[in-house]
Symmetry: C2
Subunit: 206 residues, 2 copies
Amino acid sequence: MSTPLPLIHVVDDDESLRTALLRLLGAAGFETRGYASTGDFLLQSPPDRPGCVLLDMRMPGPSGLDLQAALRRHGNPLPVIFLTGYADVAASVRAMKAGAVDFLTKPVERETLFEALQRALARDAAQRAARAEAERLRAAFAALTPRERAVFDGIVAGQINKQIADAMGIAERTVKLQRAQLMAKLGANSAAELGRLAERLQHLPD
Amino acid sequence: MSTPLPLIHVVDDDESLRTALLRLLGAAGFETRGYASTGDFLLQSPPDRPGCVLLDMRMPGPSGLDLQAALRRHGNPLPVIFLTGYADVAASVRAMKAGAVDFLTKPVERETLFEALQRALARDAAQRAARAEAERLRAAFAALTPRERAVFDGIVAGQINKQIADAMGIAERTVKLQRAQLMAKLGANSAAELGRLAERLQHLPD
DNA sequence: GAAACTATTGGACGAAAGGGCAATGGAGCT
DNA sequence: AGCTCCATTGCCCTTTCGTCCAATAGTTTC
């Protein structure tokens, strides 16, 4: 389960600048990959790997903002750092409101760039951990049968087995059985843990 | 318990523009208050009321960014909308990274301004509700004695009364008693609810 | 059609939870 | 000392939980 190394995507149509960036980042020990356009990035869309995107704002074809929006829709929210020469306030504000980690202007100081990268990678790691956790939780609940799910809801609502059985029109004995089954499926050892799981489930996106 | 109406704070050293803004907002049904400087705002610091701050960036004395930072430190995080004539990218990015709702440039379109206000007030309401909820939770837990708190931890950890009693060196009967007392104090009716409370408590800031 | 399988149920037993009642013992006050 | 107040405890009883074994009915598979 070793997490793959982070990969820095550099999207910029200025080839000389792009290769300079790639060299700089590579020298700093980062693994990198360059793209001449938004389309190139989306086509050569990398596997699901930790990392972030260093993105020019103004390029031929779809803009950096378009790519940022596409990433969000795609459910592959790699953190984005904008790095652009033609900066205007409106574009920078739109980028930040859309969730960009930072918005830097060329020429950028080495120090500034690395700080932003650091924050972007940290955010990616955090998001990734949160998504993995959410996925585990969702999968566990998806493994429950509808009945088990109903029993779960009853338990979390503080009902005792008899009340749950009554509400569902089944025998208390059956509730006990399904209770044991759902607790096994969720890996819970107590009613308190079921409550914790319910709370976490409730606060998941979607 | 009726929530007071939101109050819009307008901080701008340009008096004619400030009064124009106040008049515009007042005509739209908002309650408003104007300040000529960051210092004025901090001095005439209003009571804890819902609302937001419409803030100029460049003013004599402390800047809008300074005020934004002060609000955050003060634990009175009213949402901030910047509205400024001398906008540069670096300042806008700093403002947005510091959590500004929006960063508008003069002259601003009426529509744009009202949309931003809408979002700012919505954010304030949400933050306020979350803070109130957190406060209630904290207060409830603060009312527990250390013993009750220990019993709570044991329950949430899935231990049965006997184990808790053993670990604390007290009788099981006492654990039962404190269990009932802490559940009454927390308003919980089941172990599942205790689990939910524990989960929420764990995810509070601080 | 028979066998295998799943969901549901009944009965029963030990363990645990929840709670009433009274006794104990220490802290603090008069 | 005498007293009250309160946390702690023991005893006992009822309800609920967690499981075991076995039986029944409906469904799927061969």
